[in-house]
Symmetry: D5
Subunit: 80 residues, 10 copies
């Protein structure tokens, strides 16, 4: 299997593992682009940096991290 | 209650109603800003436009809609 | 026929098929550029993403999707 | 009726007249924004400039005109 | 003559032909850059698109077309 | 006459004087905008700065000056 | 004391308290601007969002949060 | 060792030397990117330019230098 | 004298004092704009920040400081 | 000597000749970048364009020319 395909399936396997253990909370494709929105729930910045650096496709990715906080109107906030 | 506070609490009430009925799927605050990421699951563009136009704070909001598609690596895609 | 020409004529054939079946509603060239404005009418985001991904030139395209809604002043809106 | 509402309904009336006489070919709302995509078919730049300047909301609009040409893959081009 | 020089002299010949027949009205170099401002006077967008596409250097050019209209303060407007 | 109208007609008078004496070589309106492209032929930067500062509408203008040089393919260059 | 001065001295007092308890690790002024670079060390995003929202000048600030991770070449990393 | 690895370890060694002698005051990784924030404390611009030019990875770096000044609310300022 | 004129003449006086004592090395107007390029030669960032903050027009200025270093091809560098 | 080194030393020689004859008035390095600010004093745009085009490194340079005018507060202006 060409290098690109190997890397892509390794990326998919790791992504699904992260989703199963709850660190990878959401993953969407940007319509019409080879680009994603991913939402992570991790213990801190260093942990997320390690996850991202460990992605097989990391060397080919342009990543922009936008830190999120709980929104006061979210139902989750009301339940806390 | 001043106009701004009335509009904000009406916004919160509508937002939570949208979350309860499943159209408003996710809502996060951008850290350090009076800005949000909201993820909607709706029947089509006209429905979403109507929802957004109906927000009490709509006249004061700068909204950028990025259409999303299902990601082939998402667990949801694997289950489909 | 060189690869580029094959891909371009396959792109043209697919584009015209999309236009005939009503998904591809409009297609214009941006004056002076190898760039287009295309307007699609589809059932939802996943369907459009699949169409775009299926374009022979997709790997070479920089696509920006702007979701549109019906305009209250459009004659179509008045007829609804 | 307040000034804004008068201007808006005059804008709607003019817009629909332009659509009926074929100069205003398409009009869509950008989802989530008080912004439009309009497609005009006119005799030349001066005619379009006059139409736009004559819009009641012109003083409040930020207009960006992108000139379009016929696309070689459009069905209309094949029919010519 | 290397390909680049052939294309450049063909570009110059075509550009001067366009200037002589009045379609190419003005041509200036942007100071310090391999970039131009060109002003064309043509019958319509399709005609200009064809001219630009026919330029020998077209595949290597980044073209931005800004449509112009007659200015009410221009002497030409006063003479009309 | 309101201040704005006075300033605009003074601007038009000065603009036409500049065109008659050859300093103001070209003046076009950007289609759909209250914006211009003006081409000046002056002795040097200080002279152009003085002309622009002297425009009645100067305090309300956002001016971007792009210095131009003669283009080697322009007919004028061939005649020199 | 005018409102602005009261808010500024309250901002200074809070800022220095944050520095003393170690959450506010660094604070520099951008040369020539009324703008800062601040580095915080906090337990998580929600805690930082609360700190920033609590700043007296928060309503007047344009904040851009860039999440940082430990650098492998930093002496601190070598000591860990 | 491949050239890139040699350059990276030379970069790390120099970076740590700069940190030990106090010129390199802080060094953080931008989360998710192969990019840094570095804070230097040097005698002047020429000294910093020499340090940066001397970095083994300098030819491959896109550096943006933002000059900083002491902030009036920083504890260091209060101690001065 | 209106406040703006007082501030402007105070700005001019201070600017000329800075030029006479050698801190303000160069001062040019950007052609067509109420904007400047100023070159300062100072002992360090804090000194420059103090100078800029002390300008009567400082509250109304959008300042962008680009730190410069000696150029290896400058005659001054050859003389050092 | 490799091509790049030959071009760079030819560039330095020409730059210093321009400085000696007064056309090249100032030359600074942007701190941390392989980029310059150069100030020229020339008879007109065509002369400057010729100088820039004649630079050995011209094909590799991204040049942005900002035209300057005498500043009313500059000591030079007061002496005129």
């Amino acid at each position: 299997m060409p290098h690109a395909e190997t890397a892509k399936s390794a990326e998919k396997a790791l992504s699904q593992a992260l989703q199963r253990d709850g660190q990878g909370r959401h993953l969407w494709r940007v319509l019409g682009q080879y680009a994603n929105y991913s939402v992570f729930d991790v213990a801190g910045n260093d942990e997320l940096h390690e996850i991202l650096q460990g992605l097989p496709l990391y060397p080919y990715l342009a990543i922009q991290v936008t830190p999120l906080a709980q929104h006061p109107s979210s139902l989750a906030a009301s339940e806390n």
